[in-house]
């Protein structure tokens, strides 16, 4: 009996894994041709006579992109979204009238209705703190600042499609602008900031399906917040004619391209997420591990953490990795020929110095306090990185839970958004505040700005302008924590290892 059911089970898992690999590789952005004929529900409202209103131009543009557009006003019922491929909400719609009607709608949504962000869970509820508007009447000086955006994320599908770089770009044509800004939650991805404004105000941001929203719910479908206002769609920057041949101007005037690619991303289907299944995950990582070499860097013969180090190495070897051990004092040339470097929490940050920073293979750090030296975060200890539960180094109590905010990513091991028991017993947990190019998987509970698990894709912009030579990941272990991991914690460890080596097909 067992054998009869075992084969289909293995085959099913293999097919799922194969499907996931394909999906991850291909599902980020559909080609424009695949979106042709899809229906957009365009939610608009009225503006006073003579007031700027570009809704007609937006509709015309969406149609030019190939969409069928159905324009409705804010009184539309949420059921109108049935069979729709994308909801687009203009700032002309009354956010109070809209309320939360589309908050739970499992249809992708693209909005520049800034006041609707809280209704959708895309930001917190407080005006001026969580979201806001800049306009030339109230904020004349800032209305010029917002003409300049900064490429915060360079590795997302949208960023790559646009060719976004970590540099300034023109958001709107050179007139004092009206825009909306936001502070999305840790589950969101900031694509671009407004330059020259305090608090890194996001101009363009996204939530992948199943990413945690600020109100604690998971995004039912893709969500995009964009910086437009009622009447300035026509001012989204673009370059034509002879100027289009100037590469600098071409990468400067990207406002319209950013709009288009964000629309395309929103309307594309996200990659399916493999459900939480430790056995299936184990099979996938075992397949990926075959023939791969891992350098495990530890404090050899360490006191605290020695057993955990041994067990991590044993676990990796049990998966099929070829593991070599390096002492923290060994030269970084030990990484030559390796496929992955893992830095143990037993290493001394001081003794490890700046080794392995620029190693051209993926690297996982099990020590959050090295976040500055590894360019994971800024250098301000306890502000840019820190730890909970360390008696002499933290005011925060020990903890053993993490808050999953990036359930959409394979690093989350298929775990549901929200709290997950990471270790059996409360202990030390590390955190850091990475840059927007990082994919955030988990934060510490009730501390959304303290990110416990995150990964930088290759070529991501890290702290100090450092460009990731290969994937980089933080796992928030303390030295002995590996042995205390729950099943979910172990799955997170395995999923991170798998993502780091690209074994999930991503």
């Amino acid at each position: 009996m067992n054998r009869r059911f075992h084969l289909p089970g293995v085959l099913g898992r293999w097919l799922l894994a194969f499907g996931l690999s394909l999906a991850t590789a291909h599902a980020a952005m559909l080609p424009w041709s695949a979106l042709r004929g899809k229906t957009v529900l365009f939610v608009t409202g009225n503006t006073p006579a003579g007031a700027p209103n570009d809704d007609a131009l937006v509709r015309q543009h969406l149609e030019k992109l190939g969409f069928k557009v159905r324009t409705v006003d804010e009184s539309v019922s949420a059921t109108a979204a049935r069979g729709i491929s994308l909801i687009v909400i203009s700032s002309t719609a009354n956010a109070h009238a809209l309320g939360t009607k589309f908050a739970g709608t499992p249809v992708p949504l693209f909005t520049w209705n800034t006041f609707d962000y809280p209704n959708l869970g895309m930001t917190g509820p407080q005006l001026h703190r969580d979201f806001g508007i800049v306009d030339p009447t109230q904020h004349y000086a800032d209305s010029f600042s917002v003409l300049y955006g900064y490429g915060a994320n360079t590795t997302s599908a949208i960023s790559k499609a646009v060719g976004l770089k970590p540099q300034l770009f023109g958001t709107l044509y050179l007139e004092p602008g009206t825009v909306g800004w936001a502070h999305p939650g840790p589950g969101g991805t900031v694509i671009a900031y407004f330059d020259g404004m305090a608090d890194d105000k996001a101009a363009v941001f996204t939530y992948e399906r199943d990413a945690s929203l600020v109100d604690g719910r998971a995004a039912p479908a893709r969500r995009v917040g964009f910086y437009l206002a009622d009447g300035n769609f026509h001012l989204l920057t673009a370059v034509h004619g002879p100027a289009a041949k100037d590469p600098q101007l071409h990468s400067w005037a990207i406002g319209l391209k950013l709009f288009d690619e964000a629309i395309r991303w929103a309307a594309s289907q996200p990659a399916p997420v493999a459900p939480y299944d430790p056995a299936a995950l184990n099979s996938r990582i075992a397949r990926a591990a075959h023939g791969r070499k891992v350098l495990f860097v530890e404090r050899v013969n360490a006191g605290e953490g020695r057993a955990a180090d041994e067990h991590i190495v044993a676990h990796l070897r049990s998966l099929g990795f070829d593991v070599a051990i390096a002492d923290q004092t060994d030269p970084p040339t030990r990484a030559a020929g390796m496929d992955l470097v893992i830095i143990s929490g037993s290493c001394s940050k001081y003794k490890l110095a700046n080794k392995y920073i620029d190693v051209k293979v993926p690297l996982i750090s099990l020590e959050g306090l090295m976040s500055d030296s590894l360019h994971f975060s800024g250098r301000n200890r306890y502000v840019d990185y820190g730890e909970h539960g360390e008696e002499k180094e933290s005011d925060d109590p020990p903890d053993n839970y993490l808050d999953i905010v990036g359930a959409w990513n394979p690093m989350a091991a298929g775990l549901h958004p929200g709290l997950v028991k990471f270790t059996h017993h409360p202990g030390i947990l590390k955190w850091a505040a990475p840059l927007p190019d990082a994919i955030v998987i988990a934060t510490l509970p009730n501390s959304p700005n303290e990110r416990a698990i995150f990964g930088y894709p290759k070529d991501a912009v890290m702290a100090d302008g450092f460009i990731a030579p290969a994937r980089r990941v933080l796992l928030p272990f303390d030295n002995p924590s590996f042995d205390d991991l729950t099943a979910q914690g172990r799955a997170l460890f395995d999923a991170v290892v798998l993502w780091s080596i690209g074994g999930d097909g991503s």
Binding site: L174, T237, V239
Partner: protein, 362 residues
């Protein structure tokens, strides 16, 4: 607040009865809501003959004006309106331009296609150049670069002549329905191309097309004028739409409502009615009995300044570079239609209370 609420009221009311026929036409067309440009006619000159006026070139100091019409260049004394001289041409003239300081004029002729180079003072032909790229449709002079561009809509071509040698130095095939040209004086020539609702850009050094600037909401561009300081292109389209383009980026950043439909020509000038008037203005007129204007408030701010009714179509227009006003060649039309054989009238328009009116339309 419309211009009727200001100092222009008395003037406007006085004109009201005189303008009744075409004001009625405007109302019929739903155009009366547009603000009226507070202009007045300061000179009227009846053009000799019945041929259309193809071009106007204001003379130095505003004392004379050159007119290309039929088979001749005519020179009028502005103060008296009297014909001060004529230059017979071997064929009908299609366009004319002049390098005033150099005292040289250029006239494009049809059948056979040729370019006539003439002296302005005295008025005489100095040379004739055969055109090999089709019947010419427009001329554009870039005096600083010693270049004359000859457009042929029929031949879908653009030829460049060296004004020093008189030689044709290069030509470019430019398919489409070509209309007015403009140059930035920095090596780029722009051509309104009705066939693809865009402005074609041409590198004048290589005479190659370097791209096109698309126009959204402005169909069939015909009129084109350049502000070489702000590097703005003013576009007037046949559907009435108007656009202002930042040529540094090839970006149409301002769309203005279209009040006047039909093919037009466009001119731009700083302080078009003297130092105390607008900072700049782009004026368009053509088939419809209306003149329209875009007012330049600042280099990043332009507004539709209104319209001015005409009693016929405008065959040509030109700005006096001394700020004395705008020259129009108006072919009067009766309420019943075109008056065949009616003489064309040259009119110099100046401002009445333009600065106040402009403030109201901002």
């Amino acid at each position: 607040m419309s211009t009727f609420d200001h100092n222009a009221t008395r003037y406007s009311m006085r004109r009201f009865w005189r303008c009744m026929p075409w004001l009625a036409a405007c109302l019929f067309c739903g155009l009366a809501s547009a603000a009226m440009l507070p202009l007045r006619i300061v000179h009227r000159i009846v053009v000799q003959g019945t041929a259309p006026v193809r071009a106007i070139v204001p003379g130095p100091g505003g004392t004379q004006v050159y007119v290309a019409s039929g088979r001749e260049i005519q020179v009028y004394d502005v103060a008296t309106g009297n014909l001060a001289g004529t230059l017979p041409l071997p064929a009908p003239v299609l366009d004319m331009t002049a390098d005033e300081p150099a005292g040289v004029g250029y006239a494009a002729l049809a059948a056979p296609a040729r370019l006539v180079v003439f002296g302005l003072r005295p008025l005489r032909i100095t040379s004739t150049i055969r055109l090999t790229d089709g019947v010419p449709s427009a001329l554009l002079l870039d005096a600083a670069r010693h270049a004359l561009y000859v457009e042929s809509a029929a031949g879908a071509s653009l030829a460049k002549f060296d004004t020093t040698s008189g030689k044709r130095v290069a030509a470019l095939r430019l398919p489409g329905a070509l209309r007015q040209m403009a140059t930035d004086g920095r090596g780029t020539l722009y051509v309104a191309n009705m066939s693809h609702a865009a402005i074609d850009a041409v590198d004048t050094a290589r005479m190659t097309r370097t791209g096109a600037i698309p126009l959204d909401g402005c169909t069939d561009p015909t009129g084109l004028a350049m502000d070489p300081v702000g590097r703005r292109l003013f576009v007037a389209c046949r559907d009435g739409g108007r656009a202002v383009i930042d040529t540094d980026m090839g970006f149409a950043f301002q769309q203005l409502p279209g009040n006047v439909q039909g093919a037009v020509r466009t001119v731009f000038g700083f302080h078009p009615f003297g130092a105390s008037s607008w900072k700049g203005g782009a004026f368009s007129a053509g088939e419809a009995p209306q003149l329209t204007a875009i007012r330049m408030n600042a280099f990043i701010s332009y507004s539709a300044a209104g319209t001015y009714p005409l009693d016929g179509s405008c065959e040509s227009l030109a700005l006096d570079t001394g700020g004395r006003g705008l020259w129009l060649a108006v072919a009067p039309t009766s309420a019943a239609g075109s008056q065949a054989g009616a003489p064309v009238e040259l009119r110099l328009l100046s401002a009445t209370a333009l600065s106040e009116a402009a403030g109201a339309s901002k």
